[in-house]
Assembly symmetry: C2
Homo-oligomer: 306 residues x 2
């Protein structure tokens, strides 16, 4: 089972930019290597990657660069869902061709109030057009951002029609009741449920889930991966509490800018502060406040290089 390589923890890898807001490919390669070395997989082009702020061409090139640099495609789950069907097909096909073990797929998210019929048709059209038995789709449920939810009944229909291809879901709703419903109903059928935050990692693992795909896996990878491995151990609850404390340090700030600021402060260097509009870097007072909160936890990111 190819997709088994994706179980555990993945990071929606933050994307480094140059001062002129071009993607800094070499820096991304180094960051991905640092994550993989800490047992964290690569959900590049996620929400926290500013994935939708990158063009399809940029994303194709980055997949090539990451694979070309020797990073394991078996540990990659690039985000490929776009508003336009041809874009989703193009990037998904490319990811499969390069050996990515799975793709994380947003629904088309421009139109709001769309029907499950329309969303089903969209996913079906992508699957048919890509037409590759190696395709593994992880649905991406993040209604507070996409505003287009992936309902349980839509999952049911997709699983019934494409049981080999619809491989799982990332539930970023923050509503663990919803995660539990998916764990109960779909996980037993081999549909891998990932929590969208390590806040629910222990609960997800105890519920039979696959792991988590979390923003803060960018900054706290080793500890989060450890809990995904050791969740049956007596120390699991204490490990979860320690993860929560780190995540809590980031909560008062816009997450993406805060992750980049932490990387900048912990050895990555100032260049990491760049974000593409419409995001903005942390303001000076936010930077100090984050620093204070991280210092209080003696937080660091060992091994990080600029």
């Amino acid at each position: 089972m190819k997709e088994a390589s994706l179980r555990g923890v993945l990071a929606p890898v933050v994307t480094p930019f140059t001062p002129t807001l071009e993607v800094d490919t070499e820096r991304l390669v180094r960051q991905c290597r640092w994550l993989v070395d800490r047992n964290v997989g690569l959900a590049v082009f996620g929400t926290n990657s500013e994935g939708n702020s990158l063009s399809v061409g940029e994303k194709r090139d980055l997949i090539d660069a990451l694979v070309g640099a020797g990073l394991p495609a078996t540990r990659m789950m690039p985000g490929t869902g776009a508003c336009a069907l041809p874009d989703t097909v193009d990037l998904t096909r490319h990811a499969v061709a390069r050996g990515c073990a799975g793709v994380l797929m947003l629904p088309p998210f421009y139109y709001k109030g769309v029907t499950d019929d329309g969303l089903f048709a969209g996913f079906a059209e992508v699957i048919e057009r890509v037409g590759d038995a190696n395709l593994r789709i992880y649905l991406y449920h993040i209604p507070q951002v996409s505003q287009v939810p992936i309902t349980l009944s839509l999952i049911e229909r997709l699983l019934a029609r494409y049981p080999g291809t619809i491989a799982g879901i990332k539930d970023s709703s923050g509503d663990f009741t919803n995660t539990e419903a998916m764990l109960g109903r779909f996980q037993p059928r081999g549909f891998d449920v990932y929590s969208g935050s390590e806040t629910f990692l222990l609960a997800t693992m105890r519920g039979g889930g696959a792991g988590c795909i979390s923003a803060t896996a960018n900054v706290n990878p080793a500890a989060i991966a450890r809990l995904a491995r050791d969740w049956r151990s007596p120390e699991a609850q204490a490990q979860q509490a320690a993860l929560d404390a780190v995540r809590n340090a980031f909560q008062p700030f816009p997450m993406i800018a805060a992750l980049k600021e932490a990387i900048a402060q912990c050895g990555g260097g100032e260049a990491w502060r760049s974000v593409r509009p419409p995001l903005v870097p942390l303001a000076a007072d936010q930077r100090s406040a984050l620093r204070t909160r991280l210092d209080a936890l003696a937080f660091d990111m060992p091994g990080l290089a600029p």
Copy 2:
């Protein structure tokens, strides 16, 4: 003033697809000609055009095809705002190079709750990168879909910094109080305010506005354009009422599918029913209901060819 050619009424031209969901370029050219012949400008790639369901490459090719077919670029305001900065820059640059009188620009709409600072930076970056004195940007305020509003204070900042380039706005909020605020505050400075629906056309013209960019201009172009011209006449209020009656016939249905259905029924042919996912065509009962409502108004679309 190049942009004066855009005043009056524009249609977010619905996009025809083939049975395999490719863009039917020839049919779009015919439809655009039919609209231009009825004094309606071409806001191609708008919300009702399924503009965000098309790739940047498809949209570049369509601009080339429309201009190549002899349609007037001086009457074109293609939608060019995307989530990713490089996409917005690419398509905007192409539109300006082909002579389009203006572009209709959504803010980057994936992230929600973004700041005016971030949106200002986004528009500024596009303007600086395109770097063309002929660029005229019409901002696109459609918060119920984009979920990212264009606030009055953002307009103020953009106008102050780029007075020649920030040319106007389409207000699709449906909140005429907001349109009035823009008419009072910005229109006197040469910032052209368009209502997002002909429902507010007469009121917008009386308030000094530029016209409207409306879904139903796809199906009722001549009458809407007539009111934009004759709004000072004694018949204006009656004309507005007649426009409202036609628009009202479409209101119970999903707008884009209903527009395409009306075109299909009124001489355009069945092929017009195709929409790209996540949209779906009208169901059979909706088709009949729309037909009944249009018949009650003796509605037709003279001159429409398949």
